[in-house]
Symmetry: C2
Subunit: 221 residues, 2 copies
DNA sequence: ACAAAAGTGTTATCGATACACCCATGG
DNA sequence: CCATGGGTGTATCGATAACACTTTTGT
């Protein structure tokens, strides 16, 4: 979880780090941003991005800072997941996990040969460093549950979107197909989205009405 | 949040602490265990119990250890809530909050003049140290939500109990009256509880059937 | 006129809610 | 026999799920 170079004292005070599960809908699938570890421990494995916490900022601030560093995006949804200890067997360590929802088209990945940040589909992940697979699984479950009673999907979508796009995002997170008509009714009846006024032609067929989220702050039903 | 005795370095590595929201049904009301702070900071205010984390144990282990110290109980439900930073403005600090559900009748409070642990009804709390009021509020909401789709109420009740006791626990957490008949049907239809075989006479009326939880490990519906 | 996705409405089913009476016991 | 809480059944309502046809556009 750290990339320090010098030796460290095994009896030292605990290391506090934040780790990030960054979700995006890429190519219609739910994907997560991973970096490649080029240093020990767990060298040469994929892992969640993150970084050591400096005591001069809030934990959420640290998570947000790392997120901006990895994606260039600052408009997003960020929520704490949980905290674990003992990730690094060498030293007393605590890792605070967050998940974030970002609009993939706004993301500009860091181009750094050492870390190689890249999207990976959540339903086709390699064995990750530390217990990162478990963290991602929990995050997916949490997001899926919250889709039912919040508007957090706004984090995954652009300002204006078609109902089809929205449904694709839902289906990618929930990993199950949804009925198109019932989905439309449910979404509109929640009052979380509204027609944006325009429409978008996509191909040789009828154009789709554009919608937007009434609020781009978290709302609970 | 700590009761360390030696001086500390303001530039030192972060202090990691666990804090505990311990719930019990006392006198038919949802109450939380508080201790009285006799040391700075926040001297002479009530606060949630907790303690500094030693790196040689898991965070959950540390929370559990503190819980046993405060209540003498080790059979219980314990779950992580969230993690905050900056509770103690003096030093970089991180506090990992847990909540626990304990059966009040098994609790033996520590008798220590300096800390005075005592039950306080959650709907009648004083202004607590740090942001402990907010932590408790979150914990109550979380427990209330989980009553709907888990069996975690087992933590609040003895091995065998009447439906009235169970309903009282639910009502104390949810802060709203429930229909007796519908409650019974719902509880039994979940399959989370079963008749224990006996009954209990309480007064000048028909005895109540005793029930038990089928499992005293967490179960999700 | 055909292909392809958008848009719309009805029905059936299930779960949740509201609600009233009889039962067992002690005094 | 009366007071007290325990135990049971039914009718209604609303939400969810299943399901098929018409509309608009480009080719």
């Amino acid at each position: 979880m750290t990339n320090s170079t010098g030796p460290r004292n095994p009896d030292a005070a605990p290391v506090v780090a934040t780790i990030l599960v960054i979700f995006g809908i890429v190519a219609g699938r739910l994907q997560v941003l991973l970096v490649h570890r080029s240093a020990e421990p767990e060298r040469d494995r994929w892992a969640l991005p993150g970084g050591r916490w400096r005591g001069d900022e809030s934990l959420e601030g640290a998570a947000h800072r790392n997120l901006v560093r990895e994606t260039g995006v600052s408009d997003l949804y960020l929520e704490q997941l949980f905290t674990t200890s003992g990730l690094d067997p060498q030293h007393p360590s605590v890792a605070v996990a967050y998940f974030a929802l970002v609009e993939e088209s706004k993301v500009r990945l860091r181009e750094e040969e050492a870390w190689l940040p890249a999207w990976h589909p959540v339903d086709d992940l390699p064995a990750l460093a530390f217990d990162n697979n478990r963290v991602i699984e929990q995050a997916v479950r949490r997001v899926g549950a919250k889709l039912d009673y919040t508007n957090i999907a706004y984090g995954l979508l652009p300002e204006e979107f078609t109902l089809r796009q929205l449904q694709t995002a839902y289906e990618a997170v929930l990993r199950e197909p949804l009925d198109r008509r019932n989905f439309r009714k449910r979404m509109i009846s929640t009052g979380l989205i509204e027609a944006a006024g325009g429409s978008r032609r996509e191909g040789a067929h009828r154009p789709a009405t554009l919608y937007r989220f009434v609020s781009r702050e978290p709302v609970f039903l």
